[in-house]
């Protein structure tokens, strides 16, 4: 084989498969081989919790058969391999959400995202590692071991979708799906030098996405280029009657927007620089990369305007009341009565009662971070505390939405660093929840407001990747992709190639 198929973008792979230059099966095999080479072992990336080799090949064969028969590819991404975060239900693969409590659970149904990927002929390679029930910013809270950052395997890839992001940076897959509740797509994208998009709330169906916090969760595309993310966005996006909170409107034309952006002209666009994000609390290396990013946007013709979002300061506090509240209720169903793990230890000896089984299972099945949030949320919703905690947090949420509305009257899109730091060493923050929570300082406001956000690679700080966050109003994804693609093209041109090309080779 003349080219290493794992180094191609999704768009390139699709082009070759649809032109019959290579087969979808070859593409699948190349990536399965790559996974086999770099994912396992003591120092492996460990992006995957489950690799579905057989079904991936079977799916690719179907695509090849369709192309051979002249019925054409099912979509622009037919035959392209993809890594699916283990939080989406799959009827032919286990779904664990990174938790012991769901070890071995095989759902009887496919998530809407899963079903749309299958219908589009995308080859699902397997399920990726994540912080338990998407709670965490490092994948260290996975019950199945940490995922390593391909840029430096002693460091975390971010989280909760560290597995999806790392699989891209390790060339195990050109596409991945993540979910973003407070930054779980964007922060890992920034940490791995990849692209991650949190669509507008309701833009991608949540049906079959095992809930962390229902009002904040949003599925989205992860890729190595903005165009690839856009192609995937259009495959998974759009109204779903099975999700009441899904938006009944056409998916924004993000592919066209990304292509237009790549032409490199942003003149006439107003880019809002959020005063409250990017200053204090951000590492010097991150700030340097951010300053360079702002200059690059100016060079592309954008007008930079400073905007103020005064209530962002309270976003973290509000988030850590709303999220645990919803978590405490959403995770109540894991009670050993119908599926998943069951611990039958009785406190008094003899046969354990239903109540004892529930308690023992939840004690043994949930990790410390999940327990912490369940307890926090149970407390916040308790009678007598509800108004002071959950009620106040909802008010903050409204104020943050208003901050965004005001800012979007002054600017077309907003920008900030995606994260305050570069990837940190494994173990560094595991015992300090507050330090861990600060990872999502810049990404949380978007989730609270239900607006859109993306992270594109912006540079390196001491050899570790940094990300630029671009934020858009609800359903304003097209503009966001345009800016992202323009920025990416300019950055790659200045740098003599994509940032991801500089990731060290992960020695098998």
């Amino acid at each position: 084989m003349s080219t290493d198929l794992t180094r191609l973008t999704a768009a390139e792979l699709a082009g070759k498969i649809h032109a019959k230059e290579i087969s979808a099966v070859e593409a699948a095999r190349a990536h399965l081989d790559r996974i086999a080479a770099v994912d396992g072992g003591e120092n492996g990336v460990h992006a995957f919790l489950h690799v579905a080799g057989e079904s991936a090949i079977a799916s690719a064969e179907l695509v090849d058969a369709g192309i051979a028969a002249g019925t054409g590819p099912a979509s622009s991404l037919a035959g392209v391999p993809l890594a699916l975060k283990d939080v989406f239900t799959t009827r032919d693969m286990p779904t664990t959400c990174g938790s012991k409590i769901l070890e071995g659970w095989q759902p009887p149904y496919d998530a809407t995202v899963t079903a749309r990927l299958r219908a589009a002929g995308v080859t699902i390679l397997g399920k990726t590692n994540m912080d338990e029930f998407a709670m965490g910013s490092s994948t260290e809270h996975s019950a199945y071991g940490v995922t390593r950052n391909p840029w430096d395997r002693s460091r975390v890839p971010g989280g909760s979708g560290g597995g999806s992001a790392a699989s891209l940076a390790a060339f195990e897959a050109p596409l991945a799906i993540g979910t973003d509740t407070g930054g779980s797509i964007r922060q890992p994208a920034a940490f791995t030098g990849t692209v991650g998009v949190k669509p507008t709330y309701g833009g991608v169906s949540r049906y079959g996405l095992v809930a962390c916090a229902s009002s904040l969760d949003q599925a989205g595309p992860c890729a190595r280029t903005v165009l690839d993310a856009a192609l995937l966005h259009e495959v998974i996006g759009g109204h779903d009657p099975l999700d009441s909170t899904s938006i009944d409107a056409p998916v924004p034309s993000v592919v066209a927007a990304a292509r237009r952006g790549a032409e490199g002209d942003l003149s006439g666009l107003k880019v809002g620089v959020v005063r409250e994000l990017g200053g204090e609390g951000y590492e010097p290396g991150v700030r340097t990369a951010y300053d360079a990013s702002l200059r690059r946007l100016e060079k592309l013709g954008a007008d930079l305007v400073e905007v103020s979002c005064p209530h962002f300061e309270y976003a973290m506090a509000a988030y850590y009341l709303i999220l645990p509240s919803e978590v405490s209720s959403n995770l109540a169903r894991f009670d050993a009565m119908r599926y998943g793990m069951r611990s039958t230890v009785s406190s008094g000896g003899g046969v354990a009662s239903a109540e004892e089984v529930m308690a023992a299972t939840r004690e043994a099945g949930f990790g410390p971070e999940v327990k912490r949030r369940i307890i926090l949320g149970t407390y916040a919703l308790s009678s007598g505390y509800y108004d002071a905690y959950y009620g106040q947090a909802q008010k903050i949420r409204t104020l943050i939405s208003r901050d965004f509305e005001a800012a979007f009257t002054q600017a077309d899109v907003l920008v900030s660093p995606t994260t305050p730091t570069v990837p940190f060493p494994i173990g560094d923050k595991i015992d300090d929840p507050l330090a861990m929570y600060l990872n999502d300082l810049a990404t949380i406001p978007t989730n609270l407001a239900g607006t859109a956000g993306m992270s594109v690679p912006s540079g390196l700080s001491d050899g570790l990747p940094t990300g630029l966050q671009i934020m858009a109003p609800a359903l304003g994804e097209a503009l966001m992709y345009r800016v992202g693609a323009a920025f990416e093209a300019a950055r790659d041109a200045d740098d003599g190639g994509p940032l991801i090309a500089r990731v060290p080779e992960v020695a098998p």
């Binding site: 149904y109 809930a211 009670d335």
Partner: protein, 501 residues
């Protein structure tokens, strides 16, 4: 546990004022569940009407059943409530194995219907206006069967069986305002309210309101306060009240029990009690050390329900005539007594008779067919009257054939049997079974003459003016014609032939 001291009922009402409150759960008879597309049919094999959503599987999401919302709004409107222009569902959080998500999706502080009333008519014709606090939507739980153990409850059971067919079936909870000042009529008022509410909901066609099958359930709240004290006593909530008679008995029992406790210087504990059908008494549920905190919060998986004024008015337009008003109208039209109309209602025949009358039958005949012959057939076949495979139109046709003299009453019954046995329309049955009144006068006259000739002594008596003796000749003619002759006409012919001679 020692038996409680019960105070004589008359004594109770002489010294205390009861305050009532009633919470009624109505299971809607929508085709599908509240938040998913599963069927709701009663009595299906356990766990055959389930899907990821009503099983609460990870990742599943609810979608509101529009018909259920309309049913809730129609119930609210029929109870003179205002319909909330905007409201959210809420989660009621508590752990129990028959609740798949360990929270119930319900409405909490934003119910769909509020502030209405129902005028309840008592036996003596007087009316009590019962205020309606709210009507809200929620989902039912699954059913638990606790096996082993003495109490049939989860504690002490060896194992439990769970059926989730009922999980997610739409429920409407209708809560009254406090009903004060009913005195010795409290039990009667409670029963009359539930009776009338059942009838009202049934007339809307939104539920089959079968208390025996649990599609209508009632909780009785009751407190006593010393007469004219102006204070409100502590209330108890009695559950498991599963018949109209039990509603009345539960109120009466709680009044006599609470008075006994108060007389002994005790305090009423705010608690849940269970009604015991056998003894007609109530017993305390498991005492909770702390009050349950359901940690309600708005359901983030659903969007708010915001019915437009146009939608509300459209639904108001679909409300049927109130059942008791309809009864009064029909009673006047048919000229029947209170008792007769009650019999029709109890037999479940009012709609059928009305439809039969609408199809052209006289009301008397229509009533008679449904209440006697068809009710007997329903009994024999162990079917509900409404489930018999015969339509009011078909019954009206049979009545018409009998009325026109085409069939005798007996033949009419045979035609009905034929229809019930699937032999087709009444006219087809007549054709197939050859059921025709013999109206060929020549053949009849021959038969009459033959009968008269074979019984000359009887013929003599008739000729002598003893017309009542004609019965024996009529009987012989009927026998000879295989029952196909019109007995009335035969009698006339017998008399004619005798006088002619």
């Amino acid at each position: 546990m020692t038996a409680p001291t019960l105070v004589d009922f008359d004594d109770v009402v002489a010294r205390f004022d009861p305050t009532l409150g009633l919470e009624v759960h109505v299971e809607l008879s929508t085709n599908t569940k509240m938040f998913c597309g599963c069927p709701t049919e009663f009595g299906a094999e356990p766990n055959t009407q389930v899907c990821p959503t009503c099983l609460g599987l990870p990742g599943s999401l609810p979608v509101v059943n529009r018909t259920a919302v309309e049913s809730a709004m129609r119930i609210g409107l029929a109870l003179n409530c205002s319909i909330a222009p905007w409201g959210r569902f809420a989660r009621k959080n508590y752990f129990y194995p028959d609740m798949p998500k360990n929270f119930q999706t319900s409405q909490y502080d934003e119910p769909i219907a509020v502030d209405g009333w129902l005028d309840v008519e008592l036996d003596d014709g007087s009316t009590v206006r019962v205020g309606i606090e709210r009507a809200h939507m929620e989902e039912d739980t699954g059913k638990s069967l606790h096996v082993g153990g003495a109490t049939g409850r989860i504690h002490g059971a060896e194992y439990s069986l769970l059926d989730y067919n009922r999980a997610g079936v739409p429920l409407i909870e209708i809560v009254t305002k406090m009903i004060p000042g009913t005195g010795d009529r409290a039990p009667e008022v409670a029963r009359a309210y539930v009776t009338q509410l059942r009838e009202l909901v049934k007339s809307l066609g939104v539920s089959d309101v079968r208390m025996d099958q649990g599609s209508m359930r009632c909780d009785v709240n009751l407190s006593l306060s010393p007469k004219a004290s102006g204070e409100l006593g502590t209330r108890t909530e009695t559950k498991n009240v599963n018949s109209l008679r039990s509603v009345e008995r539960a109120v009466r029992y709680e009044m006599t029990r609470q008075a006994g406790v108060l007389d002994a210087g005790g305090e009423i504990v705010q608690e849940t009690r269970h009604f015991e059908e056998q003894s007609g008494s109530t017993r305390a549920g498991r005492r909770k050390e702390t009050s349950e905190d359901y940690r309600y919060f708005p359901e983030p998986d659903l969007v708010p329900i915001a019915p437009s004024p146009e939608w509300v008015e459209e639904l108001r337009g679909t409300l049927p005539e109130l059942p008791w008003e309809r009864r009064r109208r029909i009673q006047a039209e048919w000229g029947v007594s209170d008792e007769e109309i009650r019999d029709l209602v109890n037999a479940g025949a009012l709609d059928l008779v009305e439809a039969t009358v609408a199809a052209g039958a006289p009301s008397g005949e229509a009533r008679s067919w449904w209440v006697s012959y068809l009710s007997q057939q329903a009994n024999t076949r162990e079917q509900e009257l409404t489930d018999l495979p015969i339509t009011p139109e078909q019954v009206a046709r049979v009545i018409a054939l009998v009325g026109e003299g085409e069939l005798t009453n007996k033949m009419g019954r045979q035609v009905v049997d034929g229809v019930l046995d699937g032999e087709g329309e009444p006219d087809q049955v007549v054709e197939k079974r050859g059921l025709k009144v013999v109206s060929d006068e020549g053949a009849l006259i021959t038969a009459v003459d033959e009968a008269l000739a074979s019984q000359p002594d009887v013929a003599e008596k008739i000729r002598g003016g003893k017309i009542q003796a004609a019965g024996a000749i009529v009987g012989a003619v009927m026998k000879a014609t295989g029952g196909q002759a019109d007995a009335k006409r035969v009698r006339e012919l017998v008399v004619e032939r005798c006088s002619a001679e």
